[in-house]
């Protein structure tokens, strides 16, 4: 990927004096926000739209499901969210095999908005951890079919490298299990993945609050994808605002380059010039 090497953890790009970050570039598209939001589990559609706007995101994920024929009027999310306002990233959530995920991705593409997909193949119901073999298999098929694949995976470096080799436009390791809100459990592995991949690394799942988003971005990753933390907060709009700031704060802190940790105090005021 062009222009992305500048943001690797080993050579942090200097934040301009204005404090404005460079845009996030994925699969040839540019995004000013490094936050991607899911659209599930909100108390109501109006709150969802207000929260999404408050977050500053430009990309939202959606799921493919059967139309409920027992309801008089269909409840497509597109009645509430305009594809002109937000870039739609369809997911394959709920799929447990590569074949199923490919089927869902094709249906999503047939909706006619774009050829992007958030690939997710789950391997275990309790943890919702990904089946990395099935994810890789599906990624290869979808890339071959011309999809731009953003692949949800665990924090395993080898899988991340294979997904990049398979042609994914972004690799998305988890911070912790989907919907757990446990935050970033393995910053070392996330940093390692970021330092070894050329494609953007988006941490997907597990962020519970703004400090998690901030800490995640401080690892040098390119962005964060979240849903539950905002949707189930007592005040989703306020949490979305907090996440927006958390992501920006973490990104700028990473670019700024933090001071080294010392296990001893160092005075901030001059030691010379004290009264005799």
């Amino acid at each position: 990927m062009d222009s992305k090497d500048a943001s690797s953890p080993t050579t942090p790009e200097r934040a301009p004096a204005t404090g404005i970050d460079t845009p996030l570039e994925i699969g040839g598209r540019r995004f000013d926000s490094r936050l991607i939001l899911g659209t599930g589990k909100y108390p109501d559609n109006e709150t969802m739209v207000r929260a999404i706007r408050a977050s500053g995101t430009e990309m939202v994920t959606v799921a493919v499901r059967r139309v409920d024929l027992d309801r008089a009027n269909e409840d497509s999310i597109l009645h509430h969210l305009s594809p002109d306002e937000f870039f739609l990233l369809a997911n394959t959530a709920g799929c447990y095999t590569a074949e199923e995920a490919v089927r869902y991705a094709r249906l999503a593409r047939a909706a006619g908005f774009n050829e992007w997909v958030k690939l997710e193949v789950i391997g275990d119901e309790r943890t919702l951890l990904p089946d990395v073999h099935a994810t890789l298999e599906a990624a290869r098929i979808l890339v071959e079919e011309g999809f731009k694949v953003m692949a949800y995976t665990n924090e395993d470096l080898i899988t991340a490298l294979r997904l990049e080799d398979a042609g994914c436009v972004s690799v998305m390791p988890l911070a912790s299990p989907i919907g757990s809100g446990l935050g970033l459990v393995n910053p070392y592995y996330i940093r390692e993945i970021k330092s070894r991949l050329e494609v953007p690394v988006i941490v997907d799942a597990g962020v519970g609050t703004a400090s998690d988003a901030c800490a995640t971005m401080e690892q040098g990753v390119d962005g964060v994808l979240m849903n539950t933390a905002i949707a189930v907060a007592d005040d989703p709009v306020a949490m979305a605002t907090a996440m927006r700031h958390g992501v920006v704060a973490g990104r700028l802190a990473f670019l700024a380059g933090r001071m080294p940790k010392r296990e001893i105090a160092v005075p901030s005021s001059p030691t010379r010039g004290m009264l005799g």
């Binding site: 899911g38 493919v64 269909e74 497509s76 999310i77």
Partner: protein, 87 residues
Amino acid sequence: MAEGTGGRPPEEMGGPPERDSLRIIVNGKEREVARGTTVAGLLDELGLAPGMVVVEHNRAILERARLGEVPLAEGDRLELVHFVGGG
């Protein structure tokens, strides 16, 4: 795939149609439609705007432009999907 167990209607064999209606499976539920109904006709019956749904007809995705051209047959399986909230 273990699909296509519904069989083809008898008129393909040259005999007269048995009924005026067809049984199809839409989103996992059996439904009767008039013989000759197209996929577009079915969407209309269901009150669904073609632009808001994607149709999978016997496991093959149907392009929107072809919805009006494809007649339904006995035992057809349709999946009508759309985008909902998700993470």
